[in-house]
Structure formats: C-alpha cells, structure tokens
Symmetry: C2
Subunit: 141 residues, 2 copies
DNA sequence: CGTGGACTGCTACATCTGTAGTAGTGTGCC
DNA sequence: GGCACACTACTACAGATGTAGCAGTCCACG
C-alpha cells in the first residue's frame, strides 16, 4: 500500500490524534492546504478503501482511525525510495546521506549517538517503547 | 521535477551508460519489466519533455543523455520523502533508520565509519564560508 | 525498385491522484 | 413541522502514469 502526498497529509493528522472526523482533519490542515471539506472527505474515504484507515459511524458521523501505523507507512515509503533510487541498498541511501546531503554537525553527532545507542540496545535485548511506536494490525490479504 | 517509478527504471540505465538509445534501454530492462519497445520510447520521451533527458538524432535514431544527474534526482526524491513522511526532518529519517530498520551490524559500522570520514573531510580541506550552525540539535532524544 | 525491418511521432486508454461539486438525509431550532 | 446546517454518498473532471498500438518513413537487401 502506497500513500500519495495528499494521503500523507491526512494520515499525519490521524496519527497525531488516533481518531478524527473529517471536520477535525479540515481544521488541522485547511489553512495550510486550502482544501475544501469534500476534498478531505474524499481523501479519507480513499484511505479507507485502501485499508489505511478504519471508519466507524457515531451519530451518523464518521470517525477515522489508523489501521496502517506511522512507522509501517514510513518503512514502506522508505523501502520504495531505496528500491527505486538506491538500487535497493540501504547502504546506498546512507552513503548518499553522508556524502551528498551535507548533514549539519549537529545531525552527524546525533546520528553517531543514535548508532551507539542502537548498538548497545541490540546487545542487551530489553528494548521496547520508543516515542511513537505504532503497532498496526497487519491486513492479511 | 519528480520521477515516477517507471522513469527511475529508465533513468538508471541512462545513468549507467551516460548515453543510450531506446533499444539499449529495452535490452537492459526488457527481461525484468516485460515492457514493449514503445513503452520504453514513451517513457524516454516523457523524460525529455520534463527536462530530465536530452535527445539528439544520429542517423535518425535518438540518443538520450541525462540532464538530471543521479545525485540530484536522489536528493529530490529523498527530500520529498523526508517532507511527506518525516515532517521535513532528516533527523527523523535518521532516527527511523536506526530505530526501526534494524540495520545490520555491518551497516551500522560502515555508517559510523562514513560519518567519521565525512567529519574529517569537512573539517580538513575547506572550512570557509561554511554553515555557522547555531548549535542545539533538535529534540534531545 | 519493391519489401521488410527498425525507428519515429502520434494516439489511446485505463488507473490513480488532486480537487471539488451536488444531492440526499438526519437533527436541532424556531 | 419546516428549514438551515452538517455530514454523507456519489459523481466529475483534469493531469499524471503505465502501457502499448498504429502508421509513416528511411535504409538495406535482393
């Protein structure tokens, strides 16, 4: 499942609140996107169609809840990019990041720290619960 | 300028050879994609339209040459992904990579090495006019 | 010179995406 | 009890993308 740019915009709101109405989404992104209410609605419905959201009626109003987790969506988007643009190699992406993207000093330092940390964690398996670990039910097919 | 998946497929071939004919591309990707000759041709032409390739006639046969570089294309694709999926923060992507993608030990080590290397390079040869980073890496993890 | 193959430009068509309009319907207010 | 409002389902339409066919043309070969 691939999310289009507009769909990402909507999903961001849903993920931030865990459950939203179309109105909520419009309130959140209307200013920035200029979308009409129906545009939000259509996007929301398409996301339901493709299984990224679940909708439930409350007083005849739809409430949308993510089925696709943020991390999972990121993983897939990233996988797509790596596949298309870096020959399927995460290493290639990494090299590009370091070599071409001119990471700021702070970012490099932070990345080094993260690496060390992950290293430690993986050696002492107790890990869980990052900031936004979204466990998404996997749709079976 | 954004490249579609099919366009990436074609561009990969062009970048690998610096100049190609439609036939070359078909030979290179036909087996893997199952495309017809005309599909390649259309994609090539669309790439010319959008300014990613230049074409030149030799004996009434078109030879295509990249105008858009691979690194540049990667940069843009990456920027798009970071924008859509990571709230515009490369740091967010980095965190995801380390935390979620379960880099293999080898990859992590390689990345550390790359970082150290880039660090040295950037400090060594040229420091003038550089980014005067206002310190403070965002969100302390 | 006629024919076939290679290559080209143009056209086509389905699907996806961005964006929105319209009409139907339940509900609360006057 | 009707009307405005909010929300929904359905429909629309243009541009991008995936994929390919067709017809014209040039060159080489017989």
């Amino acid at each position: 499942m691939k999310l289009s740019p507009s769909e990402w915009t909507v999903m961001r709101v849903v993920w931030d609140r865990t459950e939203v109405t179309a109105r909520d989404v419009l309130d959140a992104v209307g200013a920035e996107t200029g979308w009409a209410y129906t545009t939000v609605k259509t996007t929301l419905d398409r996301l339901v169609d493709k299984g990224a959201l679940a909708v439930e009626k409350h007083e005849r109003q739809g409430r949308y809840r993510p089925l696709l987790g943020r991390s999972e969506a990121r993983r897939r988007a990233l996988a797509g990019l790596v596949e298309r643009a870096f020959g399927g190699s995460v290493g290639g992406l990494l090299r590009h990041l370091v070599a071409e993207e001119r990471l700021a000093d702070g970012e490099r330092a932070a990345l080094s720290r993260l690496l060390a940390q992950a290293d430690a964690e993986e050696r002492g398996p107790d890990g869980a619960g990052g900031p936004d670990t979204a466990a998404a039910p996997e749709e079976g097919g």
